[in-house]
Symmetry: C2
Subunit: 440 residues, 2 copies
């Protein structure tokens, strides 16, 4: 990595209130980068590896010294360029790993998603033995607020990076920035994203003339799919200005604008009653403190025989978001555990009809995104800078790994009012013919 670039980006002291998508990092400590490592530095790294469950990793220090793992053969080499990088990594690995990688002060020899998966799996086992002081030192923090004005800021930080940026690596079919559905393993990203949209529509049992409200619509692809293929009227809420501009232009271009109303407003301001309530990939941004209000909102927005579907990243048990992701990538993010997710349904007096976990589908989606992203990294560097490009590479690699290692889940939850007896008898109708289109 070019050190000038790295130094340039460190000037941004706090990215939260900035328009530009900079990623904060620690000050570069290059004056000391050619001194000999101290023995306590070696000891700290060895300790770090033991506490992380002895992943198959060795470290290469700034003077090219190697710290080999105590157990097993290393599959990856992590190079640290300076002593302060070492110190940051040991004291706050959750935050520093991503920051150092983005700054080029932690360099990886080996496949990045595979490294991250090995780390997740090792830490997942090891953390059960951690002493309390280590839990406290390495803890993730509560996500920042997701109140109406903060949510606007949080969403702006991520989703308003520019449509051009996302177009580099998302599917060309409907710009879906959520888990795809690989009903067969060899689907293209485009097919799998359309299959996801179809799968969701089937779960909602849409019929022509129905009305749908969507909370958080991204670039509007689901609304267009529903209008085009199911002849329903859709009200889609979003607070990302950039995404809505794209969504509206695309609906007009496809002559679907008479069926779709893209509303630039917070989901909390949804009004009216609908046959279906759907939200794909927004619950992660809602925040636990707003689950009760969300539940009541769905309760009043859904007709007595309406069906609701929430699609969200989740957890096998309650756990805070990784500090680096929450701070640098997704401010305010908190994926609910499955029991917290069900608590949302309980709060509104709903009856849960169907839960499907698409975890490995998200790993495959991310693998596809990652491949395209890497092919476009030069362009990303030109659009932003190398620091940003490496941060997003780490984010995509880490997410791939998290879904592979089971640290993240993807839940699709279908529910309805507790009193509703107009229910689909079975789920057979979801599988009568393939959800994905043939390749054109």
């Amino acid at each position: 990595m070019n050190e000038t670039t790295a130094r340039k980006t460190t000037d941004a002291n706090d990215d939260r209130h900035q328009q530009k998508p900079h990623v904060l990092t620690l000050p570069l400590d290059d004056q000391q980068a050619d001194r000999e490592p101290h023995s306590y530095e070696r000891w700290l790294l060895a300790k770090l590896m033991r506490m992380a469950g002895d992943p198959p990793v060795r470290f290469q220090l700034w003077n090219d010294d190697l710290i080999e793992p105590e157990k097993g053969q290393p599959r990856f080499t992590l190079r640290l360029t300076d002593p302060k990088a070492l110190f940051a990594l040991v004291t706050n690995p959750n935050l520093a790993f991503g920051d150092l990688y983005a700054a080029g002060r932690l360099q990886v020899d080996g496949d990045l998603p595979e490294l991250m998966e090995a780390l997740y799996r090792a830490v997942h086992q090891a953390r059960q033995q951690w002493p309390k002081w280590l839990e406290a030192l390495w803890r993730n923090h509560n996500p920042r607020s997701t109140g109406v004005s903060e949510a606007k800021e949080n969403i702006h930080h991520h989703y308003d990076l520019g449509n051009e940026f996302y177009q580099l690596w998302l599917d060309q079919a409907e710009m879906q920035y959520t888990c795809a559905y690989y009903e067969s393993p060899d689907l293209t990203l485009e097919q799998a994203q359309l299959a996801k949209l179809e799968h969701v529509c089937r779960k909602l049992r849409l019929k022509p003339g129905m009305t749908v409200v969507e909370a958080g619509c991204g670039w509007g692809g689901l609304a267009r799919y529903m209008a085009r293929n199911y002849g329903v009227k859709v009200h889609s809420y979003n607070i990302s200005t950039e995404q809505l501009a794209y969504a509206r232009a695309e609906a007009k271009c496809q002559q679907l604008d008479h069926l779709i109303d893209y509303v630039e407003d917070d989901y909390r301001n949804i009004s009216g009653q609908y046959d279906a309530f759907v939200s794909i990939g927004m619950l992660e941004h809602v925040g636990k403190e707003n689950y009760q209000a969300l539940s009541q909102l769905i309760r009043r927005s859904l007709k007595p025989d309406g069906i609701a579907l929430l699609h969200s990243i989740g957890r096998n048990r309650p756990m805070l978001m990784n500090a680096w992701i929450e701070k640098r990538i997704f401010p305010g993010a908190y994926p609910p555990s499955i029991s917290e997710f069900m608590g949302i349904c309980e709060e509104g007096g709903f009856s849960v009809l169907d839960v499907e976990n698409l975890r490995l589908h998200y790993a495959q989606t991310l693998t596809h995104w990652m491949e395209r992203y890497r092919n476009s990294m030069d362009k990303v560097t030109d659009m932003y800078d190398e620091h940003f490009a490496r941060a997003w590479e780490m984010y995509l690699a880490g997410s791939t790994a998290a879904f592979r290692a089971g640290s993240l889940q993807l839940f699709q939850v279908v529910f309805t009012h507790g009193e509703n007896n107009e229910l689909p008898r079975t789920r057979q109708d979801l599988y009568t013919f393939p959800a994905a289109p043939e390749v054109q």
Copy 2:
């Protein structure tokens, strides 16, 4: 109802420690049964109806006086035979309704399941407005203990009533005393029960030679189905002596005994590791205080790539079992809410793969049971007495109503170890051909 019979059964002061399946009731107050009702008695009944949300019900008192509902037309007439019945109903309706019906002191003019559904729906709405003192007066109580020895007693109370009794009204195919699966609406009870067994086997992705452990096996039908149709080896645990005798005889008769080990022991003593863990209709009897231990048990009993399935009655939100059902029919019963259910999965570090709610399938199952049961009520009266026969009529009618009204749910939950990546890609394979056999 024959009053001699009613009086006879009131001698049983506590059924819990008795071998005979008597059902306790209140002392009959027939000395006062022909006096005029007091005005405060009329007032109490009117109050009861208002607090119960004005169900379409009128009361006929012991002197034939009618108390009409304040709102709407009555669809049902409830006759109370004596003043103490009135007092019991008003002060403790959850318990007294069933007791009085069983004793013939509350008689119903109209369809019993429909009446119960109307009551459940009205009360469900009305209880949100109840003052605290009424909540306290009418509350259900914590279920009795489900420790190892108490569980034996609880299970004995219900499941050891005699196989002959259950054979009168359960399906002739595999004696299934759990929710059937009506993949098409016109299935017979036998077809739907076999479809349930097939649906469960498919969800477990069984293959020949696999090993399965079953917690709570009833009359052993699932074990036989699995051995017969999937060539797997099954260890099935149960503490009901009567059921196990039947299960073993049947397996021998079908020459499946080399594949099935029916173990007379508490599920807590399951040992070994298996490809699948399955439990159909036992979780209701486990008790909240044992969820953690159950979760750890499944964790150690399931191979790394094994799949577990729990099938249980559940709730849309945490709520105690109806007092009469818990006291008279199912001692120790507590159906978990969906978030409590998911808590069991979280506790063991599991990943939830699939949740399906079969609520209306249970309503249909119960309708089928009820029809057969009513056709056999004379036989049931001969086997036990009229009080018992009416108590079970009320239990089946009330359960039918509870599933129709959404007060009870039926969840099938599939999960696996959090680290397992050997997952079924989709649920398409559950639906490739009908689960139910053709009618022979």
